[in-house]
Symmetry: C2
Subunit: 201 residues, 2 copies
Protein backbone atom coordinates (compact mmCIF):
# COMPACT_ATOMS: atom_id res chain seq x y z
CA UNK A 1 0.00 0.00 0.00
CA UNK A 2 2.62 2.51 1.14
CA UNK A 3 4.59 2.34 -2.07
CA UNK A 4 1.58 3.08 -4.30
CA UNK A 5 1.40 6.66 -5.60
CA UNK A 6 -0.91 8.91 -3.52
CA UNK A 7 -3.65 9.20 -6.17
CA UNK A 8 -3.89 5.40 -6.31
CA UNK A 9 -3.89 5.08 -2.51
CA UNK A 10 -6.75 7.57 -2.40
CA UNK A 11 -8.68 5.58 -5.02
CA UNK A 12 -8.18 2.34 -3.05
CA UNK A 13 -9.34 4.06 0.14
CA UNK A 14 -12.50 5.37 -1.54
CA UNK A 15 -13.29 2.03 -3.22
CA UNK A 16 -12.94 0.17 0.10
CA UNK A 17 -15.74 2.33 1.54
CA UNK A 18 -18.22 0.61 -0.81
CA UNK A 19 -20.43 -1.98 0.89
CA UNK A 20 -18.88 -5.48 0.92
CA UNK A 21 -15.62 -4.23 -0.65
CA UNK A 22 -12.54 -4.80 1.51
CA UNK A 23 -9.01 -3.53 1.00
CA UNK A 24 -7.95 -6.50 -1.13
CA UNK A 25 -10.89 -6.15 -3.51
CA UNK A 26 -10.41 -2.38 -3.61
CA UNK A 27 -6.74 -2.83 -4.54
CA UNK A 28 -7.67 -5.32 -7.27
CA UNK A 29 -10.36 -3.01 -8.67
CA UNK A 30 -8.08 0.05 -8.56
CA UNK A 31 -5.30 -1.85 -10.30
CA UNK A 32 -7.70 -3.08 -12.98
CA UNK A 33 -9.04 0.44 -13.55
CA UNK A 34 -5.65 2.13 -13.74
CA UNK A 35 -3.55 -0.54 -15.43
CA UNK A 36 -6.07 -2.21 -17.77
CA UNK A 37 -9.10 -0.02 -18.31
CA UNK A 38 -8.37 3.65 -17.81
CA UNK A 39 -11.33 4.58 -20.05
CA UNK A 40 -13.64 2.88 -17.56
CA UNK A 41 -11.97 4.79 -14.69
CA UNK A 42 -12.76 8.05 -16.49
CA UNK A 43 -16.31 7.17 -17.56
CA UNK A 44 -17.20 5.65 -14.18
CA UNK A 45 -15.80 8.71 -12.44
CA UNK A 46 -17.88 10.98 -14.65
CA UNK A 47 -21.02 8.85 -14.16
CA UNK A 48 -20.61 9.00 -10.37
CA UNK A 49 -20.20 12.77 -10.39
CA UNK A 50 -23.14 13.21 -12.75
CA UNK A 51 -25.47 10.93 -10.80
CA UNK A 52 -24.50 12.53 -7.47
CA UNK A 53 -25.24 15.90 -9.02
CA UNK A 54 -28.43 15.21 -10.95
CA UNK A 55 -30.33 12.40 -9.26
CA UNK A 56 -32.62 13.50 -6.44
CA UNK A 57 -35.78 12.21 -4.81
CA UNK A 58 -39.17 12.77 -6.44
CA UNK A 59 -41.00 15.41 -4.40
CA UNK A 60 -44.17 13.34 -4.31
CA UNK A 61 -43.28 9.64 -4.05
CA UNK A 62 -39.54 9.87 -3.15
CA UNK A 63 -38.47 7.60 -5.98
CA UNK A 64 -35.22 8.58 -7.72
CA UNK A 65 -35.60 11.23 -10.39
CA UNK A 66 -33.78 13.97 -12.28
CA UNK A 67 -36.91 16.17 -12.36
CA UNK A 68 -38.90 17.51 -9.39
CA UNK A 69 -41.43 14.71 -10.13
CA UNK A 70 -40.33 11.23 -11.25
CA UNK A 71 -41.36 9.60 -14.54
CA UNK A 72 -44.09 7.59 -12.77
CA UNK A 73 -45.67 10.56 -11.00
CA UNK A 74 -45.57 12.53 -14.28
CA UNK A 75 -47.30 9.69 -16.15
CA UNK A 76 -50.97 10.77 -16.36
CA UNK A 77 -52.14 7.30 -17.44
CA UNK A 78 -51.36 5.84 -13.98
CA UNK A 79 -54.19 5.54 -11.45
CA UNK A 80 -53.62 8.06 -8.60
CA UNK A 81 -56.30 6.47 -6.38
CA UNK A 82 -54.13 3.42 -5.53
CA UNK A 83 -50.84 3.93 -3.69
CA UNK A 84 -48.26 1.16 -3.34
CA UNK A 85 -45.96 1.67 -0.33
CA UNK A 86 -42.49 0.09 -0.57
CA UNK A 87 -39.29 0.29 1.45
CA UNK A 88 -36.76 1.24 -1.22
CA UNK A 89 -36.47 2.18 -4.92
CA UNK A 90 -35.37 -1.30 -6.06
CA UNK A 91 -38.64 -2.70 -4.66
CA UNK A 92 -40.52 -0.36 -6.98
CA UNK A 93 -38.37 -1.54 -9.89
CA UNK A 94 -39.22 -5.18 -9.04
CA UNK A 95 -42.96 -4.41 -8.97
CA UNK A 96 -42.76 -2.47 -12.24
CA UNK A 97 -41.00 -5.45 -13.79
CA UNK A 98 -44.09 -7.49 -12.94
CA UNK A 99 -46.17 -5.01 -14.94
CA UNK A 100 -49.33 -5.76 -12.96
CA UNK A 101 -49.62 -2.59 -10.89
CA UNK A 102 -50.93 0.58 -12.56
CA UNK A 103 -51.19 2.96 -9.58
CA UNK A 104 -48.63 5.27 -7.99
CA UNK A 105 -45.95 4.56 -5.41
CA UNK A 106 -44.64 5.88 -2.12
CA UNK A 107 -41.06 5.00 -1.09
CA UNK A 108 -40.51 4.92 2.68
CA UNK A 109 -36.67 4.86 2.50
CA UNK A 110 -36.65 2.86 5.71
CA UNK A 111 -38.62 0.51 7.93
CA UNK A 112 -39.92 0.61 11.48
CA UNK A 113 -37.06 -1.29 13.13
CA UNK A 114 -36.80 -0.44 16.83
CA UNK A 115 -34.05 -3.05 17.35
CA UNK A 116 -31.86 -1.10 14.91
CA UNK A 117 -32.89 2.21 16.47
CA UNK A 118 -35.12 3.20 13.54
CA UNK A 119 -38.45 4.67 14.65
CA UNK A 120 -41.30 6.06 12.54
CA UNK A 121 -39.28 9.25 11.93
CA UNK A 122 -36.69 7.33 9.93
CA UNK A 123 -39.31 6.71 7.21
CA UNK A 124 -41.13 9.06 4.83
CA UNK A 125 -44.28 8.35 6.87
CA UNK A 126 -45.48 11.88 7.61
CA UNK A 127 -45.26 12.54 3.87
CA UNK A 128 -47.40 9.44 3.17
CA UNK A 129 -50.06 10.61 5.62
CA UNK A 130 -50.09 14.07 4.04
CA UNK A 131 -50.54 12.48 0.61
CA UNK A 132 -53.39 10.26 1.81
CA UNK A 133 -55.08 13.17 3.61
CA UNK A 134 -54.91 15.01 0.27
CA UNK A 135 -58.05 13.01 -0.55
CA UNK A 136 -57.62 11.29 -3.93
CA UNK A 137 -56.34 7.96 -2.51
CA UNK A 138 -58.84 5.13 -2.04
CA UNK A 139 -56.52 2.17 -1.40
CA UNK A 140 -53.00 1.79 -0.02
CA UNK A 141 -51.12 -1.45 -0.80
CA UNK A 142 -48.52 -1.99 1.93
CA UNK A 143 -45.88 -3.84 -0.09
CA UNK A 144 -43.03 -3.91 2.41
CA UNK A 145 -41.05 -7.17 2.49
CA UNK A 146 -42.50 -10.27 4.20
CA UNK A 147 -39.85 -9.99 6.94
CA UNK A 148 -40.39 -9.27 10.65
CA UNK A 149 -39.57 -5.59 10.13
CA UNK A 150 -41.59 -5.39 6.91
CA UNK A 151 -44.62 -6.98 8.57
CA UNK A 152 -44.31 -4.71 11.63
CA UNK A 153 -44.06 -1.61 9.45
CA UNK A 154 -47.10 -2.66 7.41
CA UNK A 155 -49.15 -3.24 10.58
CA UNK A 156 -48.01 0.07 12.06
CA UNK A 157 -48.88 2.09 8.96
CA UNK A 158 -52.05 0.06 8.31
CA UNK A 159 -53.41 1.00 11.74
CA UNK A 160 -52.72 4.71 11.15
CA UNK A 161 -54.44 4.56 7.76
CA UNK A 162 -57.42 2.69 9.23
CA UNK A 163 -57.97 5.69 11.52
CA UNK A 164 -58.31 7.80 8.37
CA UNK A 165 -60.81 5.32 6.93
CA UNK A 166 -58.54 4.27 4.08
CA UNK A 167 -58.65 0.72 2.72
CA UNK A 168 -55.26 -0.97 3.19
CA UNK A 169 -54.14 -4.23 1.60
CA UNK A 170 -51.00 -6.35 1.70
CA UNK A 171 -49.70 -8.62 -1.10
CA UNK A 172 -50.64 -12.27 -0.53
CA UNK A 173 -48.09 -14.43 1.26
CA UNK A 174 -47.75 -18.10 0.41
CA UNK A 175 -45.76 -20.64 -1.53
CA UNK A 176 -43.81 -18.93 -4.35
CA UNK A 177 -44.41 -19.96 -7.96
CA UNK A 178 -42.28 -23.02 -8.64
CA UNK A 179 -41.67 -23.58 -4.93
CA UNK A 180 -41.69 -27.19 -3.78
CA UNK A 181 -43.96 -27.87 -0.79
CA UNK A 182 -41.29 -30.11 0.69
CA UNK A 183 -38.87 -27.21 1.06
CA UNK A 184 -41.29 -24.48 2.21
CA UNK A 185 -40.60 -23.28 5.76
CA UNK A 186 -43.19 -23.65 8.55
CA UNK A 187 -44.34 -20.02 8.61
CA UNK A 188 -44.79 -19.88 4.83
CA UNK A 189 -46.75 -23.15 4.88
CA UNK A 190 -49.03 -22.17 7.75
CA UNK A 191 -49.73 -18.79 6.11
CA UNK A 192 -50.40 -20.48 2.77
CA UNK A 193 -52.89 -22.85 4.44
CA UNK A 194 -54.57 -20.10 6.46
CA UNK A 195 -55.06 -18.01 3.31
CA UNK A 196 -56.09 -20.96 1.09
CA UNK A 197 -58.31 -20.18 -1.89
CA UNK A 198 -61.42 -22.00 -3.07
CA UNK A 199 -60.93 -23.42 -6.54
CA UNK A 200 -63.52 -22.19 -9.04
CA UNK A 201 -64.92 -24.71 -11.53
Amino acid sequence: MLVFPPALQRLIKELSKLPSVGEKTATRLAYHLIANDRDLARSLGAALQQAAQEVRLCERCFFLSEEPLCSLCRNTSRDPSVLCVVEKPVDLVAIERGGEFKGLYHILHGLWAPLRGQGPDSMKLKELMDRVRGGSVSEVILATSATVEGDATALYIGRMLADLGIKTTRPAQGIPKGGELEYADDVTLSRAFAARNTLQF
Copy 2:
Protein backbone atom coordinates in the same frame (compact mmCIF):
# COMPACT_ATOMS: atom_id res chain seq x y z
CA MET B 1 -34.06 -0.59 -14.70
CA LEU B 2 -36.16 1.27 -17.28
CA VAL B 3 -37.88 3.47 -14.73
CA PHE B 4 -34.58 4.67 -13.19
CA PRO B 5 -33.51 8.18 -14.21
CA PRO B 6 -30.92 8.21 -17.05
CA ALA B 7 -27.98 9.35 -14.88
CA LEU B 8 -28.57 6.40 -12.54
CA GLN B 9 -28.93 3.95 -15.44
CA ARG B 10 -25.61 5.21 -16.78
CA LEU B 11 -23.97 4.74 -13.36
CA ILE B 12 -25.32 1.17 -13.11
CA LYS B 13 -24.04 0.41 -16.61
CA GLU B 14 -20.55 1.71 -15.79
CA LEU B 15 -20.40 -0.10 -12.43
CA SER B 16 -21.39 -3.39 -14.05
CA LYS B 17 -18.29 -3.17 -16.28
CA LEU B 18 -16.09 -3.70 -13.22
CA PRO B 19 -14.63 -7.22 -12.92
CA SER B 20 -16.92 -9.62 -10.99
CA VAL B 21 -19.70 -7.01 -10.70
CA GLY B 22 -22.98 -8.03 -12.34
CA GLU B 23 -26.10 -5.95 -12.93
CA LYS B 24 -27.62 -6.80 -9.53
CA THR B 25 -24.50 -5.80 -7.61
CA ALA B 26 -24.13 -2.68 -9.75
CA THR B 27 -27.73 -1.68 -8.99
CA ARG B 28 -27.19 -2.25 -5.27
CA LEU B 29 -23.96 -0.22 -5.29
CA ALA B 30 -25.50 2.61 -7.32
CA TYR B 31 -28.51 2.78 -5.01
CA HIS B 32 -26.24 2.83 -1.95
CA LEU B 33 -24.12 5.61 -3.45
CA ILE B 34 -27.02 7.80 -4.52
CA ALA B 35 -29.53 7.16 -1.72
CA ASN B 36 -27.27 6.66 1.32
CA ASP B 37 -23.81 8.01 0.69
CA ARG B 38 -23.73 10.76 -1.90
CA ASP B 39 -20.50 12.12 -0.42
CA LEU B 40 -18.82 8.83 -1.28
CA ALA B 41 -20.23 9.03 -4.83
CA ARG B 42 -18.62 12.45 -5.22
CA SER B 43 -15.28 11.59 -3.59
CA LEU B 44 -15.00 8.23 -5.38
CA GLY B 45 -15.82 9.94 -8.67
CA ALA B 46 -13.12 12.54 -8.06
CA ALA B 47 -10.58 9.89 -6.98
CA LEU B 48 -11.22 7.91 -10.17
CA GLN B 49 -10.78 10.95 -12.37
CA GLN B 50 -7.64 12.02 -10.51
CA ALA B 51 -6.03 8.58 -10.58
CA ALA B 52 -6.85 8.10 -14.27
CA GLN B 53 -5.28 11.48 -14.95
CA GLU B 54 -2.18 11.36 -12.74
CA VAL B 55 -1.08 7.75 -12.32
CA ARG B 56 1.22 6.45 -15.04
CA LEU B 57 3.90 3.80 -15.37
CA CYS B 58 7.43 4.43 -14.07
CA GLU B 59 9.70 4.91 -17.11
CA ARG B 60 12.31 2.54 -15.69
CA CYS B 61 10.58 -0.29 -13.80
CA PHE B 62 6.93 0.17 -15.00
CA PHE B 63 5.52 0.29 -11.50
CA LEU B 64 2.71 2.80 -10.94
CA SER B 65 3.85 6.35 -10.28
CA GLU B 66 2.84 10.00 -10.50
CA GLU B 67 6.38 11.08 -11.45
CA PRO B 68 8.43 9.93 -14.46
CA LEU B 69 10.29 7.63 -12.02
CA CYS B 70 8.49 5.81 -9.17
CA SER B 71 9.31 6.25 -5.49
CA LEU B 72 11.39 3.04 -5.49
CA CYS B 73 13.50 3.97 -8.52
CA ARG B 74 14.06 7.46 -7.02
CA ASN B 75 15.20 5.95 -3.69
CA THR B 76 19.02 6.09 -3.84
CA SER B 77 19.41 3.76 -0.83
CA ARG B 78 18.13 0.78 -2.84
CA ASP B 79 20.65 -1.56 -4.45
CA PRO B 80 20.50 -1.14 -8.27
CA SER B 81 22.60 -4.28 -8.88
CA VAL B 82 19.75 -6.66 -7.99
CA LEU B 83 16.57 -6.63 -10.08
CA CYS B 84 13.40 -8.41 -8.99
CA VAL B 85 11.11 -9.28 -11.93
CA VAL B 86 7.39 -9.61 -11.12
CA GLU B 87 4.22 -9.94 -13.16
CA LYS B 88 2.13 -7.06 -11.78
CA PRO B 89 2.27 -4.10 -9.36
CA VAL B 90 0.48 -5.90 -6.50
CA ASP B 91 3.26 -8.53 -6.54
CA LEU B 92 5.76 -5.75 -5.87
CA VAL B 93 3.58 -4.51 -3.01
CA ALA B 94 3.51 -8.02 -1.49
CA ILE B 95 7.31 -8.30 -1.66
CA GLU B 96 7.76 -4.81 -0.16
CA ARG B 97 5.44 -5.84 2.66
CA GLY B 98 7.93 -8.61 3.45
CA GLY B 99 10.64 -5.95 3.80
CA GLU B 100 13.42 -8.39 2.93
CA PHE B 101 14.30 -7.20 -0.57
CA LYS B 102 16.40 -4.04 -0.96
CA GLY B 103 17.03 -3.99 -4.71
CA LEU B 104 14.99 -2.57 -7.58
CA TYR B 105 12.08 -4.05 -9.52
CA HIS B 106 10.91 -4.67 -13.05
CA ILE B 107 7.19 -5.16 -13.69
CA LEU B 108 6.41 -7.31 -16.73
CA HIS B 109 2.68 -6.42 -16.90
CA GLY B 110 2.01 -9.85 -18.34
CA LEU B 111 3.26 -13.43 -18.58
CA TRP B 112 4.32 -15.70 -21.39
CA ALA B 113 1.03 -17.53 -21.85
CA PRO B 114 0.77 -18.98 -25.37
CA LEU B 115 -2.53 -20.72 -24.53
CA ARG B 116 -4.07 -17.30 -23.89
CA GLY B 117 -2.40 -15.85 -26.96
CA GLN B 118 0.15 -13.85 -25.00
CA GLY B 119 3.64 -14.10 -26.43
CA PRO B 120 6.86 -12.41 -25.30
CA ASP B 121 5.68 -9.12 -26.85
CA SER B 122 2.84 -8.87 -24.33
CA MET B 123 5.38 -8.31 -21.54
CA LYS B 124 7.85 -5.48 -20.82
CA LEU B 125 10.61 -7.93 -21.78
CA LYS B 126 12.53 -5.88 -24.32
CA GLU B 127 12.72 -3.12 -21.71
CA LEU B 128 14.10 -5.60 -19.14
CA MET B 129 16.80 -6.73 -21.57
CA ASP B 130 17.74 -3.10 -22.30
CA ARG B 131 18.02 -2.41 -18.56
CA VAL B 132 20.18 -5.48 -17.98
CA ARG B 133 22.39 -4.65 -20.98
CA GLY B 134 22.86 -1.22 -19.35
CA GLY B 135 25.49 -2.99 -17.24
CA SER B 136 24.87 -2.27 -13.55
CA VAL B 137 22.77 -5.39 -12.88
CA SER B 138 24.54 -8.42 -11.38
CA GLU B 139 21.54 -10.59 -10.37
CA VAL B 140 17.97 -10.93 -11.60
CA ILE B 141 15.43 -12.58 -9.26
CA LEU B 142 12.62 -14.03 -11.38
CA ALA B 143 9.76 -13.70 -8.90
CA THR B 144 6.83 -14.59 -11.15
CA SER B 145 4.14 -16.73 -9.50
CA ALA B 146 4.73 -20.46 -8.93
CA THR B 147 2.08 -21.29 -11.53
CA VAL B 148 2.55 -23.01 -14.89
CA GLU B 149 2.63 -19.67 -16.69
CA GLY B 150 4.83 -18.06 -14.03
CA ASP B 151 7.32 -20.95 -14.18
CA ALA B 152 7.34 -20.90 -17.99
CA THR B 153 7.95 -17.14 -18.06
CA ALA B 154 10.78 -17.43 -15.53
CA LEU B 155 12.45 -20.20 -17.58
CA TYR B 156 12.02 -18.24 -20.80
CA ILE B 157 13.52 -15.04 -19.39
CA GLY B 158 16.17 -16.93 -17.42
CA ARG B 159 17.48 -18.53 -20.59
CA MET B 160 17.69 -15.14 -22.35
CA LEU B 161 19.55 -13.65 -19.36
CA ALA B 162 21.92 -16.62 -19.19
CA ASP B 163 23.01 -15.77 -22.74
CA LEU B 164 24.03 -12.35 -21.39
CA GLY B 165 25.98 -13.99 -18.53
CA ILE B 166 23.66 -12.61 -15.83
CA LYS B 167 23.03 -14.62 -12.66
CA THR B 168 19.33 -15.46 -12.35
CA THR B 169 17.57 -16.82 -9.27
CA ARG B 170 14.04 -17.84 -8.42
CA PRO B 171 12.39 -17.66 -4.96
CA ALA B 172 12.40 -21.03 -3.14
CA GLN B 173 9.31 -23.21 -3.56
CA GLY B 174 8.17 -25.43 -0.72
CA ILE B 175 5.71 -25.82 2.09
CA PRO B 176 4.41 -22.38 3.17
CA LYS B 177 4.94 -21.19 6.75
CA GLY B 178 2.15 -22.66 8.89
CA GLY B 179 1.22 -25.14 6.14
CA GLU B 180 0.26 -28.61 7.33
CA LEU B 181 2.13 -31.40 5.55
CA GLU B 182 -1.09 -33.42 5.39
CA TYR B 183 -2.74 -30.82 3.13
CA ALA B 184 0.23 -29.97 0.89
CA ASP B 185 -0.32 -30.96 -2.74
CA ASP B 186 1.92 -33.47 -4.52
CA VAL B 187 3.93 -30.98 -6.57
CA THR B 188 4.61 -28.74 -3.57
CA LEU B 189 5.70 -31.73 -1.50
CA SER B 190 8.00 -33.19 -4.13
CA ARG B 191 9.59 -29.77 -4.72
CA ALA B 192 10.01 -29.24 -0.98
CA PHE B 193 11.74 -32.62 -0.68
CA ALA B 194 13.95 -32.09 -3.73
CA ALA B 195 15.09 -28.71 -2.37
CA ARG B 196 15.47 -29.88 1.24
CA ASN B 197 17.94 -28.01 3.44
CA THR B 198 20.56 -29.40 5.80
CA LEU B 199 19.92 -28.34 9.38
CA GLN B 200 22.79 -26.43 10.95
CA PHE B 201 23.64 -27.17 14.61
